[in-house]
Structures are given as structure tokens and as C-alpha cells.
């Protein structure tokens, strides 16, 4: 579509989308420049959910920041805790027990599944389909119940700690997780019939918001958004951490990088996460779940960093220690900023309804950007 400036100014308007709009997934404020139903340009306004996490870290002992990690990305918090734990373990040269490694992977993958299911439901809600979110929440509830039993809370799981995890699981929980895997596998056909094959869904998402691999790379997009464009980049396989190197799983890739591919990639990732959990349970070693860690944590002066694959993409923590018990600086790189910066590029000439579909397909958690 081409719009000439000479056309009637009557159709030009400035539209505020958010920050309290249900389809902005948190508190994102978009200022849209519109021509009728078409989007000419977009300005993103951030900062409504800023909670000073990085600054908080500089005022408290190193281990106190574990309470903040799941609250940064509240839909998939465990990888954040995992990342911070890896950083401290590298800094302090702590050997993590094998059982703790497995439990970290099981809990992180359950969290990823819960996060993807939440996304599927919310994305379809953005597209105007109300029913699927009820099925997603039915399944997500099972995962969240297991996580509640493992970690003690339902959303902001304070499970990771330096040297391992805070709690063990018993045989009953293992059986529950296995039952969840079986149940989840049987549910894929339902999603297929309800969503994937649905002609309206396919027409609303195919060819919409196409992100080329070059564009995705240029803007630093990561996670399913990048993989839907066909770039096989997953930290779990590219630079395996915390024992992921021992598991066999595929990295699902998309072909065309449109909204439909992003949906397909996330659904396929749920299957892969189930496979990872199953492998972890099959060879769950015994032993302790937490290594002995000094009561006072004071990493030697220097810089430390660690990266993990969250549900939305790369999570990187970078810390500077001056040798004291309090971090000198902690910097967090989360995935959503890179993914959101694609939007102004994608939106030009889009219909408003397609913009909402594209925005939804990026799986944004805005407070994760604000931190």
C-alpha cells in the first residue's frame, strides 16, 4: 500500500494504544500514526513498569537478588534465577550437585511450557478467539500446580539458589510430572483441531508480520521470534549450560518468519520441553540438591557473566564485583527489548488489526524490558 501525503488529512490520526490496553501485554504504550485503518508509524513508550531491579541489586547482598529474579520476567522466571545462579557459581567456583542440575532443568522447562501456553492463549485472545485460552489455562494449571509443589509459589518461583535449588522432589511429584507429560502430549491434537487448522486463525496470521533472518539479526531478536525466521540459535544447544548438553532435543525452526511460524515454533518447543523433562526424569540422579555455599558470598573482584535461554529468548546477566558482599553493578539483558524493537520496522503500512496480531506474536512481557 502506498499513501501519498497529498491525500486527505482527514484520515490521519494519532492513536494511543495502551498503556492499559489488554492487548499490550502489560504496560506498553504505543503511539500510532494512522491513516484510516493503516499504520504509518509507531512510537513505543516504555517505563511504566520500572521497579529498579538492577539498582536494588547494588544495595543488597549477592544472594538477596534471587528474590528479584523471578519477578523480572514473571511469566517465565526460573531461567532468570538459573542465569543468576550460574553467574554466582562461576564467580565462586561452586560445583553444583547432579540432582540439582536435573531439577533446575525440569523446573525451567515446566516454566517454559507454562509460559508458552499462556502466550498461546493471550495471542489468540488478541486475535479475537476467546475459547482457546480456556484450554491453555487448563493445561497451564497442571504445570503451575507441579511448580507450586516444587518451588513453593505459583508464579514468582524462588527456586534457584547459589549451589543448587531450594527444594527436592519426591517420587509422587515425579509421577505427577510424568502424568502431566502424558496429558500434554494427548492435548496437542486438540490444539491442532481448535487452533492450528482453524481457517480464520491461519488467514489472520499467515504472511503477517514477516521478519526476515537479516532483520531479526539486525535488531537483536532472540528466542522463538528469531527461530521462527529460520535462524537456529538456542543457547541450550549453541552454548549448553547447566547440563543441557547431555539432552537430545530439536530446535524447532520456522520457514517464513510470520506470525503463524512463531505460533508453530512455540507449539513445537512445548513438545521438545516435554522430551527434555522426560529425559531428565528418566535419569534423575540421587544425592543432595544443594552444594555447601559460604554464608557470606563475596566473589573475587572481576567481571562475570552468564547466559541462558528463557521462554522469550536470551537472558544474560553481567556482574561486576569489587570483592565485597554487595554487587558493584548488575546488568541484565532480557529478550523482549530486542524483539519489541522490530515492531516499528514491521508495522509500516499494516492494518491495525494485523499490528495487534504482530505485537501479540512477539510474546512480550513489558516489565521485563523496564525491569
Amino acid at each position: 500500500m502506498t499513501i501519498s501525503a497529498a491525500e486527505s488529512p482527514h484520515y490521519r490520526m494519532h492513536l494511543n494504544l495502551g498503556p492499559q490496553h489488554p492487548s499490550t501485554h502489560g504496560v506498553l504504550h504505543l503511539e500510532l500514526e494512522m491513516y484510516g485503518e493503516y499504520v504509518l508509524g509507531i512510537e513505543t513508550v516504555l517505563g511504566y513498569g520500572h521497579r529498579m531491579h538492577e539498582k536494588t541489586a547494588e544495595r543488597r547482598p549477592w544472594q538477596a537478588f534471587f528474590a528479584n529474579t523471578p519477578r523480572i520476567d514473571y511469566a517465565c522466571g526460573l531461567p532468570h534465577g538459573h542465569c543468576y545462579a550460574l553467574l554466582l557459581e562461576e564467580a565462586l567456583q561452586i560445583e553444583v550437585p547432579e540432582r540439582a542440575l536435573s531439577l533446575r532443568i525440569v523446573s525451567s522447562e515446566l516454566n517454559r511450557i507454562a509460559s508458552h501456553l499462556l502466550w498461546v492463549g493471550a495471542f489468540l485472545l488478541d486475535l479475537g478467539a476467546f475459547t482457546p485460552i480456556l484450554y491453555c489455562f487448563d493445561d497451564r494449571e497442571q504445570a503451575v500446580d507441579i511448580l507450586e509443589h516444587m518451588t513453593g509459589s505459583r508464579l514468582t518461583h524462588p527456586y534457584m539458589c547459589a549451589g543448587g535449588v531450594t527444594g527436592d522432589i519426591d517420587e509422587e511429584t515425579v509421577l505427577k510430572i510424568r502424568a502431566f507429560i502424558r496429558r500434554m502430549r494427548s492435548r496437542f491434537s486438540i490444539y491442532e483441531r481448535l487452533v492450528t487448522n482453524n481457517v480464520i486463525f491461519v488467514m489472520r496470521t499467515r504472511g503477517i508480520g514477516v521478519i526476515t533472518p537479516e532483520l531479526a539479526r539486525a535488531y537483536g531478536a532472540t528466542g522463538p521470534v528469531l527461530r521462527a525466521s529460520g535462524v537456529a540459535c538456542d543457547i541450550r544447544t549453541v552454548a549448553p549450560y547447566g547440563g543441557y548438553g547431555r539432552y537430545t532435543f530439536d530446535v524447532p525452526l520456522g520457514a517464513s518468519g510470520d506470525c503463524l511460524d512463531r505460533y508453530r515454533v512455540r507449539m513445537a518447543e512445548i513438545r521438545q520441553s516435554l522430551a527434555i523433562i522426560e529425559q531428565a526424569l528418566d535419569r534423575l540422579p540421587g544425592g543432595p540438591v544443594r552444594a555447601a555455599v559460604p554464608r557470606k558470598i563475596a566473589p573475587p573482584p572481576g567481571e562475570y557473566s552468564s547466559s541462558v535461554e528463557g521462554a522469550r529468548g536470551h537472558v544474560t546477566y553481567w556482574a561486576v564485583s569489587d570483592g565485597s558482599e554487595i554487587p558493584y553493578r548488575l546488568k541484565i539483558r532480557s529478550a523482549c527489548m530486542g524483539n519489541l524493537s522490530l515492531l516499528p520496522e514491521l508495522c509500516r503500512g499494516m492494518l491495525l488489526a494485523d499490528l495487534i496480531a504482530t505485537l501479540g506474536s512477539l510474546d512480550l512481557v513489558i516489565p521485563e524490558i523496564d525491569r
Partner: protein, 149 residues
């Protein structure tokens, strides 16, 4: 023209198939928790309000060492101890817990060398006054409120 009608047919079939899924769900058991009407079932591991644990004789395990208060990231605990005459160690005289600041992170629970402070699955507390969230966990008050039923 033929392709057009084929698309139309396929689309209609996909919609009907989706409706069949929802129709089946109509006859499957209800999965919704009827929360306000029925108390939600929580795991015993759920991290709710803290309480002070006791040993087999009913004695508080806490020695009022203050470690939990110092390590709490949200500074919600304050402990003061006293040594009763004849006792071999200190006991807490007041153990004030500001639940409105607590992030249920568990630093106090995992950090206590005596396992003297533990989580309970008790979670609901409603009040119009801030003081109602300052809980005294010491004897007689260590189960400060009832679960919401």
C-alpha cells in the same frame, strides 16, 4: 473457481471440527476451581505466612540469633531475645514479621541454622489497616490468622 469452492469447503470443515472440540469439552468434567466459594487446594509446600517451629517438647527452636533478620532482603523481620532464668539459651521475646513487605523468598527459612522459622500455606489476609500486617510470631500468636474458607 473450483479452488475457491474447495477453500470454502475446507474452511468450513476446519471450523466445524473446532466446534466439535468445544462440544466435547461441554461433556467433560468441570476443571474450574470454584475459588471464593470453595477454598483453593494448595500444596503443603506453598510459601505463605511464616511461623516459628517448635521441637518435640513444644519449645520454640529459635535462639534469637537474628541471622534471619539480617539476611532478609526486604527487612521484614525484627527479633529480640531474652534468656529466661534457668534456661540454657536465649529465646525470642518478640519476633515481629511484616508480611506486607515479605516477598516469600525463603532466605530466612533456608538460612536459619536451627530450622526455627518455616513457611505455612496460610496466605490470605485482608485489612484496612497497615498495622494488621505486622505479625507477632512469638508464643500464643504464632498462628496469627486463619485460612480463608
Amino acid at each position: 473457481m473450483k479452488a475457491y469452492f474447495l477453500d470454502l469447503y475446507r474452511g468450513a470443515v476446519s471450523l466445524l471440527d473446532g466446534m466439535l472440540v468445544t462440544l466435547q469439552a461441554l461433556f467433560s468434567p468441570v476443571v474450574t476451581e470454584q475459588y471464593p466459594r470453595r477454598a483453593a487446594v494448595l500444596s503443603p509446600h506453598f510459601r505463605g505466612s511464616l511461623k516459628l517451629a517448635r521441637d518435640g517438647q513444644g519449645q520454640l527452636l529459635c535462639t534469637a540469633c537474628g541471622l534471619c533478620a539480617r539476611s532478609c532482603p526486604s527487612t521484614c523481620l525484627s527479633v529480640q531475645g531474652e534468656k529466661p532464668a534457668g534456661a540454657g539459651r536465649k529465646f525470642p521475646a518478640t519476633f515481629v514479621y511484616d508480611i506486607s513487605r515479605c516477598s516469600f523468598c525463603g532466605t530466612c527459612v533456608t538460612g536459619c541454622p536451627f530450622g526455627a522459622v518455616v513457611f505455612t500455606p496460610v496466605r490470605t489476609r485482608v485489612s484496612a489497616s497497615r498495622d494488621a500486617f505486622l505479625l507477632e510470631l512469638c508464643p500464643g500468636a504464632e498462628e496469627p490468622f486463619r485460612p480463608h474458607t
